[in-house]
């Protein structure tokens, strides 16, 4: 993960006194930062991105990694992505406690539901997939996708 996996641990956060801020603008900023911090090192040879084109050709673990993509249940679990997912969801839980769980869920649900998309799409993730039909890895597209994806994951797990 990043050197500062939480934006609130960075020196400028304290220098400017951001700990007193807790409105919706700040919530939006903190959701973005939580996702970005988890995505920074996403694209490495140890990352599971489900796109074999991006595997390092000279990596000694290439063959077993490709096998794990083809047969995911038999392959080794990808520790990096497991850790990353757990950290991001834990960060969302922390934010829900800071901003209030009901408000947090309403905010992220609204963020998801109102993400701009053509009328022909009901789901923003389907829309983003359609913009990248060849599954090229692109860090900007991936970060937006992750924000929306982890919103659905948080709601699926924590919206009782």
């Amino acid at each position: 993960m990043s050197d500062y996996s939480n934006i609130s641990d960075t020196p400028f956060w304290t220098n400017l006194g951001f700990e007193v801020e807790s409105d919706d603008k700040m919530l939006f900023i903190e959701i973005w930062c939580a996702t970005s911090a988890g995505t920074k090192l996403r694209f490495t040879k140890n990352s599971k991105v489900q796109m074999i084109d991006f595997v390092d050709d000279e990596w000694e673990g290439k063959d077993s990694y490709l096998y794990s993509l083809e047969y995911p249940e038999e392959g080794p679990p990808n520790e990096f992505n497991i850790v990353r997912k757990e950290k991001l969801l834990a960060d969302f839980v922390t934010l829900s406690e800071k901003y209030g769980k009901e408000h947090f869920i309403n905010f992220i649900q609204s963020l998801y539901d109102n993400y701009p998309k053509p009328d022909s799409f009901n789901d923003p993730l389907d829309y983003l997939d359609s913009l990248n039909p060849n599954e090229n890895f692109h860090i900007k597209w991936a970060l937006i996708y992750d924000v929306l994806y982890f919103i659905t994951e948080y709601i699926r797990i924590h919206n009782d």
Binding site: Y4, F12, M26, W32, T39, T44, D57, N136, H138
Partner: protein
Amino acid sequence: MTKDECRSIFKEAWHKAIQKEFYPKYIMGAHVGGIYFLRDICMQLFPENNIADQLNYEQYEKVSATQIRATTNDFGKLGLLTTQFEKQELTNVNKGDVVFIKLENSTLLKKLAGKITSYLYMGNNLLFDINLGHIIDWLEWKQNGEWSPRLLFSVRNSGNNSISIDGKQFRPNGEADKLIWDEFWSKV
């Protein structure tokens, strides 16, 4: 300028910049959050007689600034000074400067669109990603064997530019503006 005033300016610019990232015009384009972040800080610090928000940054998002031939000319007109790094150390860099880094692992990255990325310098070897979502420590990051990052050059606002539209200027421009600009970043 108080700490609360600086935080308010920073937060407003930060929020707008992330919105530009989250709702992009070109989703497969370059990150432009950093450009909009600096632009908004310019406009908040110097709201009068300032054309910073009239300049068109769309091509930077569509193509990436590092691939546009006109970038050097744009930098010159805006009074942005470019300095090459002679060593892999963040010396002679001020808070608020833009730092360009090249990622050099050709095997891992050959299929990526961009190998040059940029950061905002935040002091003490800390770099704010251009998507404004996380901070990295250069002293640790430069040892990353997979990305193999290398410092290229930094860009600094000199506060001395020649661009104007209908009599309005790009600010900060002049010593008085530069003092305000430097005071803001000294609080960050």
